[in-house]
Structure formats: structure tokens, C-alpha cells
Symmetry: C2
Subunit: 126 residues, 2 copies
DNA sequence: TATATCGGTATACTTTGGTATAGTGGTTAC
DNA sequence: GTAACCACTATACCAAAGTATACCGATATA
């Protein structure tokens, strides 16, 4: 990192990646969809405490980024299905790196330091 | 992802990793420190628009997570140096995965879709 | 004597992210 | 007929994150 260009080349793409995963509910939603396709209400039920407003908003962002595919079936009433888009699977490698590092880090902090508070996380029920 | 435990094992460590990199300034700070050790004011100068309040706050969080080492030299006035801690380098692999994915994603979104606005990012000057 | 540097902190403010609550229009089950 | 389900949206509110501005005590420079 020895000049502005090189530095932007570091910050900008990582920021992009972070932004896509940002927000309280993106990870639980992706987690739930990795199991398989789900309808809106199914997602709402499997992600405790999420409001329809947030679910809708976060799904839209994931869809815009082509990670999630939304399909509307012309039934009455309409059926809407969400699933991981093929492109969505490209995230898995990054996610697994983050998961490994995160797990390792939690252990490290727990043992070396005063324990960090494991906050009450809302976690997908399946 | 077929049960609650497995799902927490997905969400929690990734959340941990995300949290550590979260906030507007962590990435620019890490970028600046990857160049080598820097004093407080040097960091402040090399990261445009950061306030001392935020710089101090984010450095403290990075230090707590053992990614950054802070050394105080007993001069008058005191000299304080920040540098990547050895453990900090363990992040590089994750960061590089994110960087690659992010760069690839930006290209993809730019070409397939209506261009995404490249916001005016504050970027480290070196 | 006045000004700048060092490494920050204090206070107040604004902006963004997330929550709470209610409601839409149409359909099916009791 | 009324209650529930579906996939959401609208409005109002609240809390967290970030900004702006000023200041600290000690020292060095003009």
C-alpha cells in the first residue's frame, strides 16, 4: 500500500463485499436460503424477530446484487419463492473464510482475554 | 444448514468477523497500517476526513481485537505508535478473498445492470 | 508573547439503520 | 360472516453510528 490508487484498490472492493453482507438480517436470510427455496412467510417464520419490512428490504437488496432469485407464480393468491441464485454460491468461498477466521478469533479472544459477551443473537430456526 | 445449531455455527462466526471490520474507518486504518507503523497524527493525516474522535475509537477497537499494537514511548511529549500486530496479518487471507470477490462483483454489476453509483469514498492518502 | 505540535477527550448534533404497529386486497376454511 | 393466510407496504418512532467543534496540558518554534 504505497499510493492512493493501490489503497483504493484495497478499500473499495472490500467495502463493496462488506456492504453486501451488511445489516442485521442478510446473514440469517442467506443461511435460511442455503437450505433451499423458501416462500416469504416461510422465511419470516424461520428467522425469529424479523419484521416483514426488514425481510422485504433485505431480500430486495440481495436480489439487486443477484445473490437471490425471486420467482412469482401466477396462483391465487400469488406464490413468491426466494432461492439462492447460482451467482449467490460464488459467495460461499468468502463466507467460509470469514467463518473460519471468525470461529478461530472467538476462541482466541475467549481464552486470552476477559470473555467477550456473546450477545443474544437472533438466529435462524429450521 | 438443517438445524438451529448448524445455523448459529454459520451466522455467529461470520458476524464476528464482519463486526471486526465494521464501521466506516476500520478498512482505511488497516490499509494505512499495512504500509508500516504510524503515529496518531500521521494516521490522521493519511486518512482524509477522519476525525480524531473516530480515529481514536476505531484504533481502540482494533487494539482490543489484537489486530493492532499500540506502543507508547516515554518522550516529551509522548510518542504513540500504531502498527499491525502479528495476529493482524492473519486477516490478510480473508481480506484478500473479500477483495477479489468485491472486485469481480463490481465488474459484474457494472456491466450487467444499470451502473451502480461509485460513491465518493474517503480513501487513504499515502 | 503568540502559535503550533503531540495524542487525544467532551459535548452536542445529525444521519442512518432498525423497530413497532397497522393496514392492503384478494382467497380459503369454519 | 368472520377469521386467517398470503406477500407485502406505510407511517411513525427509536437507537446506534458518525460528525462538528472545541478543548486539554505540556513543549517547541518564531
Amino acid at each position: 500500500m504505497h499510493n492512493k490508487t493501490e489503497c483504493s484498490a484495497f478499500v473499495i472492493p472490500i467495502r463493496d463485499c462488506l456492504d453486501i453482507l451488511s445489516g442485521k438480517w442478510k446473514l440469517p436470510i442467506l443461511g435460511a436460503l442455503m437450505e433451499g427455496k423458501k416462500r416469504f412467510k416461510e422465511l419470516e417464520r424461520s428467522i425469529p424477530n424479523i419484521t416483514p419490512r426488514m425481510l422485504s428490504k433485505e431480500l430486495r437488496e440481495l436480489e439487486i446484487n443477484q445473490l437471490v432469485k425471486r420467482t412469482v407464480y401466477d396462483t391465487v393468491p400469488v406464490t413468491v419463492e426466494y432461492e439462492m441464485a447460482p451467482y449467490g454460491h460464488s459467495l460461499k468461498k468468502v463466507l467460509m473464510e470469514m467463518k473460519e477466521w471468525g470461529a478461530q478469533h472467538r476462541k482466541r479472544i475467549m481464552t486470552t482475554d476477559t470473555p467477550i459477551e456473546t450477545e443474544e443473537l437472533d438466529v435462524v430456526e429450521v
